[in-house]
């Protein structure tokens, strides 16, 4: 009899895990509280990020994932709007610049091709950028795709292998007997049982694990974003600030951080993350704030003044999960038959490799990676 798995969460990881499980003959049900791609994955910019990965296992998996993501269009025979795109991490002061120099050195030793750029070189790489306030940048070639197409591809292909997708289905709690996970209880009261439960539930993971007595160190920041009308290619690279790493996720000193990218359709996506203190998952917390309107305006004025007349079409907010240690919560934990996959720093690039690893765990295969560093921070109380 084939094994049965329940995947909770229809974001990047839930979709990819469900696909790889179904493809490997695991009877899989994906349960999503709203619709596929309606949470933080839907609010994501679609960047296939390489250079922001934490050195160590995270970076090793990122590099594996990067190879695989580039093959997905061929594997699915679908257009995911994948294209090569550089990533610019911008330093506005000496502190950020020395951070970039130090990071580049470490990551170059991992085989990553990272270039440090001064203002003149930056102007060549990103001609429409106003470099007045910039000290320098680090540059790395990576990719970009349409995140909705990626999730839809995983789901569509998974269904061919018998994947069941239950949208608008909220999981109330994880069912466990002793220290063994048995399944999930839905908000409707219905119970689903399986050999494995996989929580790919992002910012909600901490809450779902509480009833198991499992302490999961996932926090979240509120991210706010705007999409503009479509224009001809204007921004060449993915643009983000080094301060995101030097400050925004620090434990005490916190700040906001701006990023932007132009999609294949020509829209510019402008985003900023909140200070963690301002976060709430209440309904009111899904509105955009005046603070970020002003913040994004000021950043655009500083870096891309010629965009000030461009029209904004829509805004959104999302809860972006993170861990203080920058290390994801990924793998088997102290509760048997429960796999956690959340709190990753960059999602898109890791989707295929995370899906493959979860499949190996469920199938009882020997793992190529030692995930203990990703799981040891999630302990039973």
């Amino acid at each position: 009899m084939s094994k049965k798995a329940i995947v909770v969460g229809g974001g990047y990881f839930g979709c990819s895990i469900a696909y790889y499980l179904a493809k490997n003959k695991i009877k899989t049900i994906l349960v999503e509280q709203n619709e596929v791609g309606s949470g933080s994955s839907g609010g994501n910019f679609g960047c296939v990020q390489v250079q922001d990965s934490e050195p160590g296992l995270s970076l090793e998996l990122t590099l594996e994932g990067y190879q695989r993501v580039q093959q997905l269009e061929k594997e699915f025979n679908l257009d995911l709007e994948y294209r090569e795109m550089g990533s610019l991490l911008i330093a506005e002061n000496e502190k950020d610049m020395s951070f970039l120099i130090e990071q580049a050195k470490i990551k170059q030793s991992w085989g990553l091709k990272i270039d440090l750029l001064d203002r003149n070189e930056l102007k060549r790489v990103e001609p429409n950028l106003s470099t007045d306030s910039i000290r320098g940048a680090s540059y790395c070639k990576q990719g970009h795709l349409n995140g909705f197409k990626l999730m839809n591809a995983f789901i569509g292909q998974g269904k061919r292998y018998g994947l069941e997708v239950w949208e608008r289905t909220k999981v109330k709690k994880v069912i466990a007997a002793g220290n063994t996970c048995k399944g999930v209880e839905l908000a409707s009261g219905e119970k689903l049982y399986g050999d494995y439960v996989i929580l790919a539930t992002g910012a909600w993971t901490k809450e779902l694990c509480k009833s198991l007595g499992l302490n999961v160190p996932i926090e979240y920041v509120k991210a706010e974003a705007f999409v503009t009308e479509q224009i001809q290619p204007f921004l060449i690279n993915y643009f983000s600030l080094a301060s995101f790493f030097t400050e925004a996720h620090g434990q005490d000193e916190t700040t906001t951080s701006f990023c932007c990218v132009q999609t294949k359709s020509g829209n510019l996506l402008l985003g900023e993350t909140s200070k963690p203190g301002l976060v709430s998952t209440e309904e009111s917390g899904t509105r955009n704030s005046r603070e970020h309107c002003l913040g994004i305006y000021q950043e655009v004025r500083k870096f891309f003044p010629s965009l000030l007349n461009l029209n904004i079409l829509r805004s959104w907010t999302t809860y972006s999960p993170y861990t203080v240690s920058h290390i994801p919560v990924f793998g088997e934990v102290e509760v048997q038959n429960l796999i956690l996959a959340a709190g990753f720093k960059s999602a898109v690039v890791l989707t295929p490799i995370v899906g493959e690893i979860v499949t190996d765990i469920v199938r009882g295969e020997r793992l190529k990676y030692d995930l203990s560093q990703f799981t040891q921070q999630s302990r039973l109380a």
Binding site: I231, Q232, G266, N309, L310, N311
Partner: protein, 107 residues
């Protein structure tokens, strides 16, 4: 010309002429009227070409909702011509696919 001069209800109103430049061509428009009205009066019906199929588009809803009539106006792409009044010396360009910021094509 397809401009209504005599209307059974609306009173006739004299308007000053202004000059607009459409794809480099000098044309006459009436002060205060919308760009789209001026173009139709000058027998121009194609305002843009779509980005995917490169098909011609002009007026569709006419009330600023649908964005079908957008053109590059004074260097601003995606300008809804049905709700943007003409200005003397205005530079208007047929938008082919996606517009470009600062795309001026005066004369």
């Amino acid at each position: 010309m397809c401009r209504i001069i005599n209307h059974p209800i609306v009173e006739r109103e004299e308007r000053k002429n202004v000059t607009i430049y459409v794809d480099g061509k000098k044309l006459e428009a009436k002060e205060g009227e919308m760009i789209a009205a001026a173009l139709l009066a000058n027998n121009i019906h194609t305002f843009r070409y779509t980005k995917k199929q490169r098909e011609p588009r002009g007026i569709f809803c006419g009330i600023g909702q649908c964005n079908d009539c957008v053109m590059i106006v004074d260097g601003v792409p995606n300008t809804r011509t049905c709700v943007t009044p003409v200005r003397d010396g205005m530079v208007i360009t047929t938008q082919k696919g996606l517009g470009k910021i600062g795309d001026h094509n005066a004369l």
